[in-house]
Structure formats: C-alpha cells, structure tokens
C-alpha cells in the first residue's frame, strides 16, 4: 500500500508539472493549447538529437528547455495572434482548433520523418530506499526535479514582482491593465514559461518511461484532465489534482488491470468535475 502511494506521488508529480503550464496559459490568456503534448515530444526529440551529437545529458536537457521556451514564443507570435483578437468562448474554441491543427502538423511530421524515435533517460545506480520502500532511482530523481520546479514556480508567483504581475492578470485582466501591466506581454512570458515546463516534463517523463513520437496526444489529454480537475488557472490545484489522481491510479493499478484502473482514474476526474465544476482549487466565475 505504501509502495502504491509512493508510485502514485511519482505519477502525480509528473501529471502536476504537465498540467501547470497548461493551466497557466488558460488562466492568463483564456487559451487552450492542444499542442502542449507536442511541445513535450519535440523537446524529447531535441534531447535525443543533442545526445546523438555527443552532448552530455545535462546540457542536452538544458538545450531542450531553451527549445521548449522558444516553441512557446513561436506559438505566441504566430498561431495565437488571431486568437488574441477574440474574446470569451470564441477565443477558447479558436485556440483549441488552431492548436489542434498545429498538433496534427507536428505529429504528422514526426511520424513521417522519425517514426521510430523514442527517448528514455537512464539514471545510473540501484534503487533508493525511502521509509522502507525501494523506489527506482529514475523515479526519485524525476520527482525531485518536479518538486524543485513546482516550488520554484510557486515562489515565482508568490514573491517576485513579475510573478505577482502575472497573477494579477489571471485575477483581473482589466484591473491589471489599469495599473500598467501589459497582459499581452505577460501572456508571452507565460507561454515561454509553459514551453520550458513542457520540456522539463520531457526530461522527467523520460527518466520513468519511454516517450515516443506518438505520445503527444496522450500527454495533452492527461494535462487537460488534471488541469480541469485542479481548477483552471491554479498551479497549486494542478499539483494537488495530479497527486490525488496519481495515487488513485497507482492504488487501482496494484489491485486490477491497466485499462480498468484508467477507467477508475477517469471516473474520479469526471466525478470531481461534476461535483465541483470550478475544480479543486479554482474560483467559479
């Protein structure tokens, strides 16, 4: 049981990190990025190519983080331009459809050019023992990175001026504009940030299991579900939802088969949304 809970936390931290970027972009800009999983996959491809070129793992991951941020910037400067001109529901729908198109292009290209590419990062050394439970070293390292990233993210939003400015846009766009914060520049910053987070997910995910060029859709869908369960726009909510869903999934997995565990995970998510449409930590508009 303890082992299952630990596994759940490992899964949950990854879910949470994955959802954090998506939730920020939605909370700040009312934009749903359906190409989010594809950003992660491209980052993984960057790591693969960098390591093939003889670059050690750590700088390769650094390169991927830069690439991820760059992709966020590119999305902001190109495909999201027309989205910003709309408001409310039309904006969400247009962003959803346009980024779906981007996801198709990326998936199509990767499947055509590099159908067999996959990334796993092996962390050397044996399993680590934490309160009597032996965990694979890769999972522990991945979770540690996720925790550090989450703490960094939360302190950025709590204590830095830039982070507070971003939060003020989430809470009240007009109000933020009135005190001299440019919502569009904030949004650009957050898109870059979420691109970096997506790339970080590529690295941590690869320490636990394989990422191949077909993982994009699945990653996006899980990020979306965790985001909504946690409450759109809430990073803490995403983390909490990720860990809760992760634990539910891991416990189900120890007793029953994979596909039924997934159904239990999905049912838990659906019930949360139906009972609390605003999400665990979201504020209902």
């Amino acid at each position: 049981m303890t082992a299952a809970i630990f596994d759940g936390i490992v899964i949950g931290l990854r879910f949470g990190l994955l959802a954090a970027g998506l939730t920020l972009v939605y909370g700040l800009g009312g934009v749903l990025l359906l190409a989010y999983g594809q950003v992660t996959v491209i980052s993984a491809v960057v790591i693969i190519f960098a390591m093939d070129a003889g670059i050690p793992a750590l700088p390769a991951v650094g390169l991927a983080l830069v690439a991820g941020g760059f992709m966020g910037l590119v999305l902001d400067l190109t495909i999201l331009r027309p989205v910003y001109r709309r408001h409310g529901e039309a904006r969400v729908l247009l962003s959803l459809l346009l980024t779906l198109g981007v996801a198709f292009i990326v998936d199509g290209f990767l499947n055509w050019r590099y159908p067999l590419l996959g990334l796993t990062l092996r962390i050397g050394g044996g399993p680590i023992e934490i309160i009597g439970v032996r965990m694979p070293r890769g999972s522990v390292v991945a979770s540690a990175i996720a925790i550090v990233a989450m703490v960094g993210l939360l302190s950025f939003f709590r204590w830095t001026t830039l982070g507070r400015a971003a939060r003020s846009v989430i809470e009240d766009q007009e109000g933020a504009r009135l005190v001299g914060i440019d919502p569009h520049r904030m949004l650009r910053l957050i898109l870059v940030l979420s691109g970096v987070l997506a790339a970080l997910v590529a690295a941590t995910q690869a320490m636990v299991r394989l990422i191949d060029v077909r993982s994009g859709f699945e990653l996006t869908v899980f990020a979306l579900i965790v985001t909504v369960v946690g409450g759109l726009g809430s990073v803490t909510g995403a983390l909490l939802a990720g860990i809760i869903l992760g634990i539910i999934y891991a416990i189900a997995l120890t007793y029953i088969g994979t596909s039924l565990s997934l159904i239990i995970l999905l049912a838990a998510a659906a019930i949360t949304i139906v009972i609390r449409p605003a999400g665990l930590l979201g504020v209902r508009e």
Binding site: L93, L98, G101, G108, W112, I225, V228, S259, I263
Partner: protein, 347 residues
C-alpha cells in the same frame, strides 16, 4: 456576444415570425429530396469499384455523425466530444446483441440506438444540472470517450480488445453487398437532415436559437433551457448511435479505431467547422469535401496528417464561420435582401 463562434447564420430572431409562417414545408423537403436525388446518382459513377463505394459509405456515415454533432453542439452549444463513443455504443451494441445474444438485426440496431440515446441524454442532463460551460462539457465528454475506449480494451473477451471482431450476423444479407449499403446510409442521411430541419422549424428550433444566442435571456423568457438541451442531446445521440450501428453491420467488423476519438470526433469537428456550425447543410458539405480531400491525400501517408493540420489552420483563419454561412452572407449582400435563406446553400 456578436462574435460567438456558433453565431446564427445571420437570422435575427426578432421579426422572424412572419417569415416563418410564409415558408411552406416544401422549402425544407424540396432541397433535401433534390440533394437525395443527386447523391443517389453517385453509385452510377463509382458503383464498379468496391473501394470507392466503401469510401462513399464512410462519407455518408460521417455526414450523419456531423449532423448529430451539429444538433448537439451547433444548436444548443453543448460540446460533446464523444461522438465517436456514442456511435461506438451503437456499433458495438448492435454487433454484440446480434452476434452474442442472437437478436434479429433490426432489433439489435434499435436497442443499441436506444442505449446511445439514453447515454447522450444522461451526459447532457448531468452537464445541464451542474451548469457546466462549453469547455467543461467538452472535458467531461472527452473523459467519457477515453473511458469507453478503455472499456473496449478491458472487456476484451466481449469486444475483441485492440483488434475488434468480425460480425457474423447479416453476413449473407444485402447489408454486405456492394451497392445497397450506400442507399441504406443515404436514407439515414436524408432522415437526419429532415429531422434536424423539422426541429429547426418547430418551437424547439426557436428555443435552440434563443438559448444559444443568450442563455440567460432565454431562461428569463420562459424557455426551459435544460429540457431543450437534453432533448437535443438525446436526438443527436440517437443519430450517432443509429449510424454507428448500421455502419458497423454494413462494414462487417468493429474495432476501437472505427469509433476512436482521432478517427471520428476530430474529423467531425473539422467537417462541421468547415461547413458551418449550426447550419443545416453545413455537415453535408463538410463531409463531402473532407471525404474527397481525404481520398486525394491518401497516397501521402503520414504527410496526410500534416496536410490535414495545415488545412484546419487555414480554414479557421480565413473562414472561421464556415463555408455555408460565409457564402450565404455574401449572397445576401449581393442580392441586397434583408431576409436570408437560413442555412440554405446558394447554388
């Protein structure tokens, strides 16, 4: 909310009463029958090729899926991202009832359609009761889609798991021959089209438009928003389930990818957005165009997905309202008429 995505195709609710009264039933039935007559000629050209007839049947099935989705999303603003799963309930349901339980084919189709209808209505009821917005309804139904897909895998001995199974029932009936499935499907398309058209003309149609334009105002004006949403979802789901069931039986096999999210839902959204969300003939145009485009791209292999993506992006950048509403807008401006032909395709 003038720039809403699902904007009505230019019809204003005020002052529409007189127009509607003057319009006879023939203005709906006439074009539908004409469309049916044109589509009925397709096998004369393609009838020799089994492959091309197969493609045509798929195209018609997608037209039905899109009409059903349009009724749910276009008419009442409920983003049901489970079109494939509802069709799958029809398809798998009919196949299992006919093969495993041994019911006659028409009975199994009816029962499976009923289950799909109730499922859709239930999902809508939950969404309405909890007043979930567009995106939340989308997520809940997406979760339903994923659960359905996992259920198919989990119940492997009943559903054949990943590879699906071959349907034995009806193997020697006309459903498996080359040409008849096309006409069966065509009848369903015309039936769905007429049903949707009649609904739009009835008081339900007024309620749909009212609640889509401004939900709160509609509620205040005495429109029972909840009831009409659930009705629309039920009828749309019935169309999806029926089509799925009939398609599965004509195809002779079902598999998770027959009703998958990427294979059905994404395509249906694209087809509807191309034709025009909320318009009557939009689904037909969308299904026709994308079935042909799909065939043209078939040699491209994986590049097909890229081309699809590029097409989707260009489409939503340039004609975000959909082709039919855009064209009828242009037509109206040229003709200088104030009153539009709602949803009708000019020419």
């Amino acid at each position: 909310m003038t720039d809403r995505f699902t904007e009505a195709t230019g019809t204003s609710v005020i002052g529409g009463v007189e127009r509607r009264a003057s319009r006879s039933l023939w203005r709906l039935v006439g074009p539908v029958l004409a469309l049916g007559a044109v589509l009925a000629l397709v096998p004369l050209r393609l009838g020799d090729s089994r492959v091309q007839m197969g493609v045509a049947v798929v195209g018609l099935a997608f037209a039905c899926y899109t009409i059903g989705f349009n009724l749910i999303f276009g008419s009442t603003g409920q983003l049901f991202l489970c079109a494939g799963a509802l069709a799958g309930i029809g398809g798998y349901g009919a196949a299992i009832l006919a093969d495993e339980v041994g019911l006659p084919i028409p009975v199994s189709i009816l029962l499976a359609t009923l289950v799909a209808t109730l499922t859709g209505a239930l999902l809508s009821w939950i969404a309405v009761r909890r007043s979930l917005g567009v995106i939340f309804t989308g997520i809940v139904t997406l979760i339903f889609t994923l659960s359905f897909a996992n259920l198919l895998l989990g119940l492997g001995n009943l559903t054949g798991g990943e590879s699906g199974f071959l349907i034995e029932s009806g193997g020697d009936s006309f459903l498996r021959r080359q040409i008849p499935p096309y006409y069966v499907m065509l009848v369903i398309v015309l039936g769905c089209l007429l049903a949707h058209g009649l609904l739009r003309r009835s008081h339900a149609g007024w309620a749909f438009r009212a609640l889509r334009d401004d939900e709160v105002a509609a509620e205040l004006a005495g429109v029972d928003v909840a009831r009409y949403r659930v009705y629309a979802a039920g009828i749309g789901s019935a169309m999806l389930g029926l089509t799925g069931a009939v398609y599965a039986l004509t195809e002779g096999r079902v598999s998770p990818t027959t009703f998958g999210f990427a294979e059905v839902d994404v395509v249906v959204v694209v087809m509807l957005a191309f034709g025009g969300i909320g318009s009557l003939y939009g689904p037909i145009l969308g299904a026709a165009v994308f079935t042909v485009v799909d065939e043209l791209f078939v040699d491209l292999g994986q590049l097909r997905l890229m081309a699809y993506g590029a097409l989707v992006i260009m489409l939503f950048l340039w004609v975000p309202k959909g082709v039919i509403p855009t064209l009828s807008g242009l037509w109206r401006r040229r003709a200088g008429r104030v009153s539009p032909r709602r949803g009708g395709s000019p020419g």
